[in-house]
């Protein structure tokens, strides 16, 4: 019996010692250490990371040249793993931690008050519950956030390009906070502009076809695609159905315009990540960074082929996407 | 003690596999009787026992135990009057529980299982006493999970459990069918002595005609769902083996 206990204890001991190997302490570092905390594996959200990395690279911080060291972790959608991954990054004493999507940001803010946190694809801190108001943000919180004000502008886009439109249809995902919040802003905006909003809830991408068809049966003039993973994943289905029903799609995600939406006004994930990367680079170069800032690059984009189909000609404010 | 009035049981009513297991069976058992039930396979013997224990509800008819109409009483409530020994020696005890725990459960058969830790030293001493009388060595293996015991040991334990809480009725459904000849004899002797000692009304279903001769004071014959013969040894004496066999061959095959 004791032999077995000894065996197990030595196994555990070996595990511990081997895991304490490659930890370069802060003083001995040649290049800054950057931690990246991702919550899910998603191609659209990945764009934010790419933007972040590119911004760092363009400011002289690249892994290939040895001017920066990365630790990248992804919680694979599991919250306990997110906690563990966050602790992992913290235990390596990085110079900063970039957090991609809201849950990563919330978790990291709870766990460290010292390590600078650069948030991406997260809402304004008080909206996320990280502070009581817009004045008392955590001291170590930086990065780029999005408010949902752009949705007002997006709705105005509809008035702009299709003044006769009266009824707007949309589907939203009840289990994503971003989607629900966006939906509420959308409802309020429609009410202000006296537009009729018809909506249907959806929980996963396999439901999109049916829900979209049900929605289109209710005589909508335009479809508004909210920023949401389920919609991103099943967009081709949504587009096909809307196209058949002759209903144009407006959205806040520029990535969807190249996939068939008519026009969009909103943040671009890649640019979002890039802007945060710029801020992070400034920090690493020793410049003064004050705190989280709002997303800057929001563009009006339209798809010329789709516009032609619907007989709409946007003015110069709108950028056509390259063919 | 037991009164059955016009009990009928049909399985799979209305389908192609419909079986009339019991057809208008009526009979009475007096307190203290030891009834041996014999009959061919499928004659309804086990169904009869299941109707008395409450595991099968009759389609019509009444069941009374000790004057109380229990037709609508659910099986686990009938347990306060009825103890069962099963054909499968493993079926009467809970394999993962220890000898002590099995006996503890049986001792609570008619009472509620409360939140106190019942297996105290007093209880342990009393069961050790009882177990040693079985001469199976079980008194030294109180904490052994019963799945580690042999079939014969488990069946003996089931018997002990059957008489451990004041039940009035002992139902035994071919208790030695899965046991070797020597163990079978021991178990039947044990069953007989325990039931006589506790003055239990007993029903024994068996294929072993020698058991019918040796034990009990009443023999009944089930044929094709009907009770066709009641033989009281007190009035008509103990039958010979050949006579019992002739009862069997008197079974009519449908159509003739």
């Amino acid at each position: 019996m004791y032999r077995k206990i000894f065996f197990i204890i030595s196994l555990v001991f070996i595990l511990f010692t081997t895991s304490c190997e490659n930890r370069t302490s802060k003083e001995n570092r040649t290049a800054p250490l950057v931690g990246f905390l991702d919550f899910v594996q998603d191609p659209t959200i990945e764009l934010a990371r790419k933007g972040f990395e590119d911004a760092l690279r363009n400011n002289g911080f690249s892994e290939e040249d040895g001017t920066v060291e990365w630790i990248y972790t992804n919680a694979q959608g599991d919250i306990p793993t997110l906690n563990q991954a966050c602790e992992l990054l913290i235990s390596r004493s990085p110079d900063l931690i970039a957090t991609n999507v809201t849950l990563s940001t919330i978790t990291t803010v709870r766990k460290t008050k010292d390590i600078p946190i650069f948030m991406i694809v997260s809402p304004r801190p008080d909206i996320a519950g990280l502070s009581k108001d817009t004045l008392s943000y955590p001291e170590n919180l930086f990065g780029v956030y999005e408010t949902l004000a752009y949705i007002d502008t997006a709705i105005n886009m509809i008035n702009d390009l299709m003044p006769d439109a009266r009824t707007i249809g949309t589907i939203y995902n009840q289990s994503e906070p971003q989607s629900v919040d966006a939906f509420e802003v959308l409802s309020a905006a429609c009410k202000k502009l006296n537009l009729n909003l018809v909506s249907k809830p959806v929980t996963n991408s396999s439901e999109s076809q049916l829900v979209t068809q049900a929605l289109l049966n209710e005589e909508v003039d335009v479809f508004f695609a909210l920023p949401d993973n389920v919609i991103f994943a099943s967009f081709e289905t949504i587009e096909k159905n809307c196209s058949q029903a002759n209903v144009p799609i407006f959205t806040s995600e520029s990535g969807l315009v190249s996939r068939g939406a008519l026009a969009s006004y909103g943040a671009d994930f890649y640019q979002w990540g890039y802007q945060c990367g710029e801020q992070a680079s400034a920090f690493l170069l020793g410049e003064n960074v004050t705190g989280p800032e709002e997303v800057i690059i929001r563009k009006r984009i339209f798809n010329p082929a789709v516009a032609e189909k619907f007989g709409i000609e946007p003015n110069e404010l709108y950028q056509p996407i390259p063919d | 003690m037991i009164d059955l009035k016009n009990i009928s049981v049909t399985f799979n009513h209305g389908t192609s596999t419909e079986v009339n297991a019991l057809k208008e069976v009526s009979f009475s058992v007096k307190k203290g009787d030891f009834v041996v039930v014999i009959g061919a396979n499928g004659s309804g013997k086990s169904t009869l026992l299941n109707v008395i224990s409450g595991n099968i509800a009759p389609d019509h008819g009444e069941v009374s135990i000790d004057g109380i109409d229990v037709t609508k009483v659910i099986a686990h409530k009938r347990a306060q009057w009825v103890s069962r020994i099963f054909q499968d020696p493993m079926a009467g005890t809970a394999g993962e529980l220890s000898v002590k725990d099995n006996l503890r459960l049986a001792s609570l058969r008619s009472s509620s299982k409360g939140l106190k830790i019942g297996s105290d030293p007093d209880f342990q001493r009393s069961i050790q006493q009882e177990l040693s009388e079985l001469s199976l060595g079980l008194e030294d293996r109180l904490d052994t999970p019963v799945e580690n015991l042999s079939g014969g040991q488990r069946q003996a334990l089931t018997l002990l459990m059957a008489v451990s809480d004041a039940s009035k009725l002992l139902l035994m459904d071919e208790p030695t069918a899965a046991l070797d000849p020597k163990t079978s004899v021991r178990i039947m002797d044990l069953a007989n002595s325990l039931s006589r000692k506790a003055d239990l009304t007993t029903l024994l279903v068996t294929h072993n005609l020698r058991d019918a001769i040796e034990f009990g004071n009443i023999i009944i014959l089930m044929e094709d769902g009907k009770l066709t013969r009641v033989h009281d040894k007190g009035k008509d004496g103990t039958p010979e083996l050949s006579e019992l066999l002739s009862w069997y061959s008197g079974i009519k095959i449908s159509g003739t």
């Binding site: 793993t81 849950l103 | 529980l97 459960l105 609570l108 409360g114 830790i117």
Partner: protein, 284 residues
Amino acid sequence: MEFYTTAIIQGLAFACMGLGIFLTLKIFKIPDITTDGTYTLGGAVTAVMLTNGMSPLLTLVVVIFCGAAGGIATGWIHTRLKINALLAGILVMTALYSVNLAIMGRPNIPLIDDKGFSNQNIYLVVVVLVFIAVFFVIWLLKTDFGIAMRSTGSNPVMAQANGVNIVYMKVFGIALANAMTAISGFLMVQYQGFADINMGIGIVISGLAAVIIGESLSRIMSYKNIAITILFVVVGSIVFRVVLAFSLDMGMNPNYLKLVTAIIVLLIVGLSNQKFNKHLILLK
């Protein structure tokens, strides 16, 4: 060390759920996966009550009742409607998704201002609660009621023949198990700082792993005592989380995280296999 402390605390928090699954799976022999739903239910109720200023103690009581209610639903569907236990569990789990969403009102509720137990206290609370849970279960299984419970799982026909109401027992067992799962939700929401509608997805695996690893470890140690077995469920839960943490620490591609974890768990289970034990004995 903070890194592995997280693993231990999460392991302890999930130990309650592990105990619940131990009860349904090992004692009652019922595979119950209502877990995903009742875990989130516990979390949802906790977040809503704490952000509305109610005391953590009252919240705990309500959480226990809610978890039990979920279990009673599954138990009722299984015993009264005679639906397979696994299916009953899935049905209730699916229904609870809507219930939880309705309770929360939004898909995510953050706990601002350290409502509930603060970061330091949560460690103590987790340890105390798990302690209480373990001793409660051990005590319960030793009582006459516990013997009736165990016989229901081991041999239901025999249990019934001995006066045990097995329908009531099964429902009670599933209710108790899910109440314990809900407690895990209560603890985790306070540890992670928010409740999320998707927090329960796949969480039953953590509980199953705790039971399986615990069983394997107790087999290695050759313990048959039921009290030790239960203690090892807690150990199993902690080991599972530590293994996960170690996989992360090894620094490999996060995509392979789940595969590597499965392999390591398999190794632990394989260690308890008899053949290997023989090799160990030969080492003497």
